[in-house]
Amino acid sequence: MELLVNNAATYCYTGGKAYDAAKPTVVFIHGVLHDHSVWILQTRYLANHGWNVLAVDLPGHCRSAGEAPSSVEEAAAFVGALLDAAGVKRAALVGHSWGSLIALEAAARLKDRVSHLVLVGTAFPMKVSPQLLEASLNEPEKAMKMVNVFSRSTLAAPPSALGPGTWVYGGSLALNRRVLRSNTAVNVFHRGFKACDSYANGETAIAQITCPVLFLLGEQDQMTQPAAARGLINKATASGKQVKTVTLPVGHHQMGETPDDTLFAIRSFLAT
């Protein structure tokens, strides 16, 4: 469905179901050079099992208009505006990679409006190597290949999103290219990476959230290595948050390479 957020047309995939105010809501936030479609299986399942799903295309990405966010904070403010525009009083937030930082910052700001926080493939700080940052600006094709090589954990994913016969590496690369092409005004690749790289409020934000948090990590993730989430996990635990950590035998393509395990972890957490 399309919402008007900050005066910009904003696309949210709803899993094929109309929004129902009586149901709880989950907002899915994608990472750099992704869009709503990376959540296809998890969102479609939840939409058919008692949840409203709003899998958003961030501003300036694919189907959504507006200025692409330059910082995690700017994107987090957008998430609050999205909830307002959709008339959602309270929602669970699920974010992947850059989207996990956006979800984290939004949860810290929105406090009780957030019922659950799921951080998939997260790290803090989420530093991007200078070489990759530079390549994302000047040699995006090369940088996209690097990102997908770092994200892959297997040459033989089991039935994966979209389903049997999908080559996850190729699918992700094609999506990256499409998202990059979708915004002719700015390089959303470089802008997204810069936003990840410069975000400094992670540990403060995790201490400010008021909801349970799930860390959903990839054992073989070379983009956001599990060890890089340790600081956030420790801080959340030390702050007395309800913390759950699930580590899957997968890389950074969690939703694509292990769609079922990713779904089950999210489903189980949302039920708490």
């Binding site: 995939y13 094929g16 479609s37 033989a156």
Partner: protein
């Protein structure tokens, strides 16, 4: 640098899509000869049917063995995924039937396999889908053939059997200007010789019967999607792709372009095309094709080596009036082949002998190493007379447009010793020449 995480062509040819079987430890890909797959629960069943979870339901739609082949060819082509089909022709039909219905129009190359030409010229017209044929090198012709209802451009990487090389960068640019995708039949080149997606094609299909399987043992096809064509954007301006960009009542009112930004075509092709038309591949066939792909690069290298030797031999024979291979500077696609096909333009080509029809017959019947049959891309060398076999339904005019005459002989060069192939051809040419005396 290719390595575990960034594997090269040969590693992908052996490993993409397959891991040791988690249950038995089997290293080779198991053949899953089962029609159906047990559901874990009612919820699991419903979720699979509603595309909420990935998995196998019924082997007409998907099968674990076929899925390995699909991932493998997608990896080799640089695509996002693939669908195996009963044959190459089933693959072509699946592409057309997924993208259009009655009232639609295709622009296609004249240099097509006879079966494809027949499908477009006769059979699809019966279902209301019209085709305009354009010579592959006629750039203005491709552009001029576009109509408001055009939904697809279609050609072969190298035309069968004249080996006219399709200028994919140019033709795909014209297709994209017109807001339609370019579908390419890559059967004769295989991804070892050319990856059409790197040049601008949007969809590729193979008759996997040929070089992919490589041993003349199995019939099969496969469609690969680059994930590059923006169906939603094109539909928004032209209204041409309602099949992908508007709710489909036949499958949960799904809008395929919303479900998957890059995989809409494959979603509909599998969920509708395989489900309703049913031209699926047997898992046993998929396994045989996988065995072939494991040695694809080794075989293709030898095919190219032998082809070069045979082409050089034929070009030196006074009784041969024309050798139609882009290796030769006289071939109209010589320059384009050097650019797009640096490893070679394939091992299936034609040549014309001097002499009459009876001499042609004598030539074919004298051959001992070459087998006279209707196939190409076998590890064994093959020969056929297109005008009376593969292209026999075509008029003289259509044959000429495809670069075929009554005296054209098509060869598919196999993996035998090159000297033996040349000896065989030498004897047959001599016999044919004598038959005219």
């Amino acid at each position: 640098m290719p390595g575990y995480s960034d594997p090269g062509f040969d590693t992908l040819a052996l490993h993409a899509g397959a891991a040791p079987d988690p249950t038995t430890g089997a290293r080779a890909v198991p053949i899953h000869l089962t029609t159906s797959f047990v559901f874990e629960s009612s919820d699991h069943a419903a979720a699979l049917f509603n595309l909420e979870r990935a998995g196998h339901v019924y082997s007409r739609i998907s099968n674990p063995t076929n899925a390995v082949l699909e991932q493998r060819v997608a990896a080799l082509e640089g695509g996002i995924g693939a669908i195996t089909t009963a044959s190459g022709q089933a693959a072509l039909h699946l592409c057309i039937a997924t993208l259009m219905g009655a009232g639609s129009h295709i622009v296609a190359s004249t240099a097509l396999y006879g079966g494809s030409q027949n499908l477009l010229h006769y059979t699809m017209r019966r279902f209301g889908i019209d085709t305009t044929f354009v010579k592959p090198g006629d750039v203005d012709g491709w552009r001029a053939a576009v109509r408001p209802n055009t939904k697809l451009f279609f050609g072969e990487t190298v035309g069968n059997p004249g080996l006219d090389v399709l200028d994919i960068p140019t033709v795909s640019a014209i297709a994209h200007e017109a807001g339609v995708p370019l579908l390419v039949d890559s059967t004769l080149t295989s991804p070892w010789l050319m990856k059409p997606f790197e040049h601008g094609a949007d969809l590729v299909y193979h008759s996997a019967t040929k070089f992919l399987s490589g041993h003349g043992t199995v019939i099969g096809g496969i469609v690969v999607d680059a994930g590059s064509f923006d169906w939603a954007r094109s539909h928004a301006t032209s209204g041409k792709f309602a099949e992908l960009a508007t709710p489909y009542e036949g499958f949960h009112n799904m809008v395929f372009t919303e479900e998957s930004t890059v995989g809409a075509f494959l979603l509909r092709a599998r969920r509708e095309g395989l489900r309703d038309f049913g031209a699926c591949m047997s898992p046993h066939s998929a396994w045989l094709i996988l065995q072939g792909i494991e040695t694809l690069s080794l075989r293709m290298e030898r095919h190219m080596h032998n082809t070069q030797k045979v082409v050089e031999f034929l070009a030196s024979q006074p009784f041969v009036s024309r050798v139609g291979h882009p290796l030769l500077a006289t071939h109209p696609s010589h320059a384009l082949a050097q650019k797009l096909l640096p490893r070679g333009a394939g091992s299936v080509f034609s040549f014309d002998m001097k002499g009459n029809r009876e001499q042609g017959k004598k030539f074919i019947e004298t051959l001992k190493v070459f087998s006279h049959l209707a196939n190409v891309g076998d590890c064994r060398s093959l020969v056929i007379h297109p005008a009376t076999t593969t292209h026999f339904r075509m008029t003289d005019e259509a044959l000429a447009a495809g670069g075929i005459t009554q005296g054209t002989i098509r060869l598919s060069i196999g993996l035998e010793d090159a000297d033996d192939l040349i000896d065989d051809l030498k004897r047959a040419l001599k016999a044919a020449e004598k038959a005219g005396v």
